[in-house]
């Protein structure tokens, strides 16, 4: 397994450089509070918003790039070779899933250090947002990966694009016909953000939801791995 993980590291070198560049840019959003230091309460919410948005972007970038991990060895020869090796295709799939998970965990540790770094300057970053984003992205990848394994990374990308398009259409419909007055009024917007970030105002249902999401995503990720193992031999038949 260690060898397969090392193979992933070597094959995805370029991909990892792109991810690192993207993450550095997104990290800049998180440390913006240092540039706009101020003691006023309003500014604190703006800062909290920036860190939440920064963490959101960081995980989104990672989520978009990790599907490339499957693209690196989509060839029939490799598929036949790995199926005949002692590790079999389950080892191959496990290495992809583990590598993805390791990338996300590395990013979370980076977010942890960013949060600690900001705390030195008495600025707070919403680390809980980073943590929840980790599981949301894992959830999305758990849905996406079996498609990639069965139909190839191109088709997998089509599925992801289709889901994204549906979500964007919903967002457009909401912007056109929904209640969006708070978006044009900064005071209302930050009041809403304050309410959502206020730990003392969290209801039991919200607390239970935030606690359940990680376990649910982890379970789904494991099921997704099992499903991908079943789909791999069929998918490999369609490789070039």
């Amino acid at each position: 397994m260690a060898g397969l993980l090392y193979k992933e590291l070597i094959l995805n070198k370029k991909n990892l450089v792109y991810i690192a560049i993207g993450e550095l840019f997104a990290s800049f959003l998180v440390i913006l509070p240092l540039i706009y230091q101020s003691g006023s309460e309003d500014t604190e919410y703006v800062m909290g918003f920036f860190s939440t948005f920064g963490f959101f972007m960081m995980f989104l970038i990672m989520g978009m790039m990790v599907s490339g991990i499957f693209q690196t060895d989509e060839t029939k020869k490799w598929a036949y070779f790995i199926c005949a090796s002692p590790l079999t295709h389950t080892g191959q799939i496990l290495s992809k899933y583990l590598f993805t998970l390791l990338l996300y965990i590395t990013l979370l540790v980076w977010c942890y250090f960013l949060t600690a770094f900001l705390a030195v300057f008495n600025q707070t970053a919403n680390f809980a947002a980073a943590f929840e984003m980790l599981w949301i992205m894992l959830f999305a990848n758990a849905v996406e990966f079996p498609f990639i394994v069965r139909f190839g990374s191109k088709s997998g990308t089509y599925v992801k694009t289709a889901i994204g398009t549906v979500l964007i259409l919903f967002a457009f419909e909401w912007i056109l016909f929904g209640e969006t007055s708070f978006l044009s009024d900064p005071e209302k917007f930050f009041a809403l953000f304050e309410r959502l970030s206020d730990a003392s105002a969290m209801t039991d249902i919200f607390l239970i939801l935030t606690a359940v999401i990680p376990y649910l995503s982890a379970g789904l990720y494991f099921l997704s791995y099992k499903l991908s193992c079943k789909l791999y031999p069929k998918g490999a038949e369609e490789y070039e």
């Binding site: 965990i105 942890y112 600690a116 030195v120 969290m202 209801t203 039991d204 607390l207 239970i208 990680p214």
Partner: protein, 279 residues
């Protein structure tokens, strides 16, 4: 040079790196006033957790020991129960501590903590599970410590002394390593009798007991990961359980009471190890 001398030399070099990489920057920051706030010291502590791993890597490199016996392999097959134990053992010993604390200190469970947190008992349980998930996701930080203490120090100590002595010595080395954080009040605050020596002594006792448990997990799996999980849950989620029965202001008393549960589980680990070795 015989094996024992070589091991002793390596241990000394490791301690020098593990302590030096933490104590020197922490001391400098404190002296220069660069990181005066608690938050500042929090960052130093987060960095410090990687210094035992860095110490073991540097020692391995300088003594040309290589990466053999680094316990970095998962050994997941057949050891799932120990991985699960790694997650749940800190919760078990915290529960034991809490059960002992209720009659011993005559406290009402949940008196302070729930009011302070402003949540219902169900909400509090959700918070505990949330913290367990956070701990597991942040395990690489704790892996930094475990690679040093369990992955390097204990196996080398075992070659120059008997197992019980190795438990105690490794616990003391690990406990004293926390001194800068204790002096800064990160663990117990500064407002207690015998500051900071009583704090250091308590930390050593705690590290000896938890060290026995973490070593047991490491030896059962031949891997440091279960110990890293246990360490992560111990630091982030377990205090929420012991804290529910105790006075939130008496931090040192809470910690001392917390050791009782750890001691019970550590004794079980010693008995189990002795039984297995006899067989």
């Amino acid at each position: 040079m015989n094996d024992k001398k070589i091991a002793a030399k390596r241990i000394l070099l490791f301690i020098l790196f593990a302590y030096g990489l933490y104590w020197v920057p922490a001391g400098l920051c404190d002296l220069l006033g660069v990181l005066q706030s608690d938050a500042g010291f929090y960052l130093i502590t987060a960095y410090a957790m990687f210094t035992p791993a860095a110490g073991s890597l540097l020692t391995r490199f300088l003594t040309k020991e290589g990466m053999k016996n680094s316990l970095l392999r998962l050994h997941f097959k057949g050891n799932v129960k120990y991985y699960l134990l790694g997650i749940f053992v800190p919760l078990i010993y915290s529960l034991i501590s809490a059960v002992i604390a209720i009659p011993a200190l005559n406290v009402t469970p949940g008196r302070d903590v729930l009011v302070e947190a402003g949540v219902s008992p169900i909400g509090y349980i959700a918070v505990i599970f949330f913290n367990i998930a956070v701990s597991l996701a942040l395990f690489p930080i704790f892996l930094g410590e475990e690679l040093g203490w369990r992955g390097y120090l204990f196996p080398h100590l075992k070659t120059i002394m008997k197992r019980p002595a190795a438990y105690i010595v490794s616990g003391i080395i690990w406990g004293v390593w926390h001194t800068p954080a204790i002096i800064d009040g990160l663990n117990f605050g500064k407002d207690y009798a015998g500051y900071p020596f009583v704090g250091i002594l308590l930390m050593c006792l705690f590290c000896i007991c938890t060290g026995i448990i973490f070593t047991w997990l490491t030896e059962k799996t031949n891997s440091v990961y279960p110990a890293a999980f246990a360490h992560a849950v111990n630091n982030n989620a377990a205090p929420l359980i012991t804290g529910i029965t105790l006075n939130s202001e008496a931090v040192l008393q809470n910690f001392a009471m917390g050791i009782t549960g750890v001691f019970v589980v550590a004794m079980f680990c010693i008995a189990e190890t002795a039984h297995t070795r006899k067989r």
